[in-house]
Assembly symmetry: D2
């Protein structure tokens, strides 16, 4: 298994709203950025997953907001694979400010593996390599 | 109490992603649009709430995705006030396609009433008119 | 020719930034909303254009900002077809506040008609009905 | 003068639209990210500019699109200060794919230096240090 570096960047100006903090919808996008980053880190670039004819539409998300990020604030996103049954995958996230060290948001997203027509795939049978690669990372010590 | 009309509009092109469906983060924004709409309908424009020095940052959201909306698809958003204790307010949402009649997404958001420094307010004492107006709408038959 | 009603809506909360005004990038999205609206009004829904296997990627945009829109401010978008040669189409926009009557932004976008592989189409030959419909609206009195 | 490194990142999934390419409005946001990055590189973090009570609202933008970026594609943004008279600043941008080496978009933005009420400032007099710092970078060899 590859060692997975956490995802990090700074807050963009256009992510703020008139309260002067990151708009809450943007954390859902930040979770996605982190997800794509970790897949890359694990040697499973999402681009290649899509080239295999696999999509990963989102079945559900939840997020709770603890401390607002502000413009230009640097942050890290930590991630953990929670559950995987070959068809659906649940991932958890923690967004932490690099400036204050505070937990800013935490949440999760659940995804379905589907074909291009958005029909669910049993990856254990349809794409065993992908299934095994993801299963392996369930064991990973995310230090979450 | 005013009669509250559901919120409706069509999907914008820029809300779609490369799967050809509305990106899941946009439903969180649609919930916000509906929230602002219903506050207007109830005679509590959010703009006036902010003029009273009150902010309503989001403490948490959750959403589950049932059926994807596509470009230009007309939809309605139904809303319901779930819980209100004077400090926090929980709201539920249902997004329904006007084309198919299908439930596309459902979810909820929780908000805190705060002063401009994001300190929580006990609106029962600090802003009794607002407190009473919201409390009244807890009883409303949303047909949700 | 159909009579074309201007596009109108209010500013969403998530469209504001920490300056308390609509982020300048969002006017480009508002132009797109208006474009789709006017195509619908003209009986040329963009959805049907895409069903004909035609895409309209953007070749360029420009916008100048005159007066900032704020949260919940109602606005209209007026539009005018500037130039059409069967391959490219240039459209101009004016965004006007319904509250102040002020011109808030004006701009233009240029689009290419292409096939699904983004190869330019000479619509005069490939899709004469679309070509004629658009050409007809070059003459329209937009009151711009 | 500091040496200014170009801005770089990869395309996010949520930046794509149903054509499978980056939505054209997002390049305006990418220009902003690059602007903030270069200000940081030049030792003029935008955050500090705002702490001086200075805002930089956008007066106008233009962009032309040459070659679409796709999901996960790495890109660089090069920037150049074009004109500065103490009140307004014009900046040019070039977005280049790191994968293909192709120019994907180029454009410019014009900004006004204002006080928090969006009144223009003559920075030569009101904030000479900022004025001098920016003037110095007009001479910089951007290799643009």
């Amino acid at each position: 298994m590859n060692k997975l570096r956490p995802y990090e960047r700074k807050v963009y100006y256009y992510e703020t709203d008139k309260m002067g903090i990151v708009h809450h919808s943007n954390y859902i996008r930040i979770f996605e950025e982190a997800r794509v980053h970790y897949l890359n880190e694990a040697g499973l670039p999402f681009e290649k997953i899509e080239e295999m004819g696999i999509l990963m539409p989102c079945l559900g998300i939840e997020s709770s907001y603890k401390h607002p990020l502000v413009f230009d604030e640097p942050f890290m996103v930590y991630l953990k694979l929670d559950k995987f049954n070959g068809v659906t995958l649940k991932i958890s996230y923690r967004v932490v400010s690099k400036r204050s060290g505070k937990l800013c948001a935490k949440g999760s997203s659940t995804h379905c593996f589907t074909d291009p027509e958005l029909k669910p795939l049993r990856t254990k049978h349809s794409h065993p390599e992908l299934y095994n690669a993801i299963t392996q990372y369930l064991e990973y010590d995310y230090g979450f």
